[in-house]
């Protein structure tokens, strides 16, 4: 079965002379949540930017349902939703208008939009805030707006960059429940995070990125095996793998 997202020997970064990523390869299949894990500066955000088609690879390629961004821009963008680390809102638009604009941009028909939007507002407990402007939102509320916009589109692939930052516990739970639901329906989810306990609980597989290279990837069992640390949790493996590197340096 063809994976939803396939990253093949991707090298890239802001300058050709100083690549950030070195031959990164991984895939996200249907019914799968994949955790992208790494220290600050490991290359997580750069990887995500390449997947979003905001940067061109130096070599290698990224395919979404078999298509590259360069050849099928619109279809590529259409089949993916992004939840950024820092909420990117339009200060001059209300919460409802954010949802409406997103639905318009992704070509949802008006009826579907209203149904989904109302359900989402209810689930994230923001029904009363439809006419509010972002300046009245806390960090967590802003993040919820981004999350709702992504779920509204209901694409094949979700890319979430540190989605939990600033969310209250109920917000995190709603988000994760939705993620699981989307996974059941056959979506693929790529999620970068530092919160390893949550990642361990929800992700099916993990990609450990370090200095722009993948040092380990697989299920928790496979990671334990590769690291030679049977029975340890993700936290320990992560610390151990990056510590080893410190010794070398």
């Amino acid at each position: 079965m063809e994976p939803i997202l396939k990253v093949d020997k991707l090298s890239g970064g802001y300058q050709r002379s100083r690549p950030v990523l070195h031959e990164v390869s991984f895939a996200v299949k249907k019914h799968e949540i994949v955790g992208l894990i790494g220290l600050n500066g490991a290359g997580k955000s750069t990887t995500i930017k390449h997947i979003l088609g905001l940067m061109e690879p130096h070599s290698g390629e990224v395919r979404l349902s078999g298509k590259t961004w360069a050849k099928n821009r619109d279809e590529y963008r259409q089949s993916m939703a992004y939840i950024p680390e820092m909420p990117l809102l339009y200060e001059e638009m209300t919460l409802w208008e954010h949802l409406e604009l997103t639905a318009m941009a992704y070509g949802l028909d008006e009826k579907t939009f209203k149904e989904r939007a109302e359900a989402l507002l209810k689930e994230f407990r923001m029904e009363k805030m439809g006419n509010w402007f972002p300046s009245h939102f806390s960090k967590g509320m802003r993040q919820k707006v981004m999350i709702m916009c992504a779920f509204l589109v209901s694409p094949a692939l979700y890319v979430a960059d540190e989605p939990f930052v600033g969310l209250d516990p109920l917000g995190i739970k709603s988000f994760l429940d939705r993620m699981l639901e989307m996974k059941e329906r056959g979506c693929g989810i790529l999620m970068s995070t530092h919160i390893l306990a949550t990642a361990e609980k929800y992700c099916d597989r993990f990609i450990l990125l370090h200095n722009g290279r993948i040092i380990l990837q697989g299920t928790l069992g496979e990671l334990q095996e590769q690291a030679g640390m049977p029975g340890s949790d993700l936290d320990d493996i992560y610390t151990e793998m990056t510590k080893e590197d410190n010794h070398v340096e």
Partner: protein, 410 residues
Amino acid sequence: MWNEKKLWDKRRSDYWAMAVKYLRLIANSGFLFTIYLLFVFGSYYYGQFLEWLPETFPAVLFFTALFSWFITRGRVRTFAKTGDLFFLTPREGKMAPYFRSSIIYSWLMETFYMAFLLLILAPLFFDRIHPSGSLLLSIFLLLSGLKWWNLASGFEEQRIQEQSRYRLHTVIRAGLNIVTVYALFSVQPIWLIGGLAAFLLIFYFAYFYKLSKTHSLKWDRLVDIEDQTVMTFYRIANSFTDVPALKSKVRPRNWLSFLFRFVAYKQGNVYRYLFSRAFARSNDYFGIYIRLTLLGLLFLFVVQLDWGRWLIAAAFAYMTALQLETLRHHFNMSSMVELYPGQEQGKFESHKFWVQVLGSFQTVIFGVFTTVLYGPVNGLVVLLLAAAVYFYHSSVRLGKVYGNASGAAE
């Protein structure tokens, strides 16, 4: 080697590099043209105004009030930054050259503004106070000296922590200024003016200068003064162009939401949707639009020549169009727009759409207003001219603006 003088020079040049960018934008925004118009009409009506002004007009008091205010206001521009509270306080004792430069700089700027003010008022001065040019020049030089005294004293005065005492000092300065400025404009004998100057000098050295020995600099206040100056500049610049540093508040303006009905719910309308919200609620697009429209109406009302009104209508339509043009950059910093599928073509078309819609409103307003005041023929000419301007802007100029950009950064 780092030293205080170099730091000051660096900060001044940084500020001007920033300011020049905005000044250039202001110059390009039709502002110079407005000034020119004001100048042409102003010089015509100035003479009439002077004739109309009754003989009893208290010219000396008017000059005294205006220049006393002008000389008392304004403080030394230090270019101080918040970080200085931490990084420069240890070197406070060695900062004298830095602040000397600040005082000289502020004095030159203020003198320049004052020269400008005096130039505008010169005809009034010659008509009502004294016809001698050399007298006006002497007054100007003496006022400039008084400004120096005020800046120097005002700088030492900021060392006083207590807000009420600090204000009291300003009030005392204002009082001395009123006396001195009145003496100048009522053309008092030389000995009296000389006496006042001597008194001010002695007062400075005997009192203000001594403050610097006993009181430390109040950096918070210096930073406040600097911030206010920069903000004033930003606010002025903001009425001509978009100033990112000035995050002006978003205003809901619900009564403008009828504009949003021009945007149907469909995928191709993403930019129409975005632009409508940006225009109605953010920054001052709408404010500028309204101001230019009202200013246009005022000119249409005042100007008595037919062709003058035609010119005014076309000019104000064009200035408004140039302002609407800046909407183009509004969403440049938003990375979410980049992620939406299928928006490659939509931006230019949507921008054009809004220039045409908003242009039509203004055109109709100009046309109807002129019809009511000067009859249908005049109204029709104004209507057609404004419409032609918007047609030119939206179908020729805007396309070029977008065309040039696609080759470059965008």
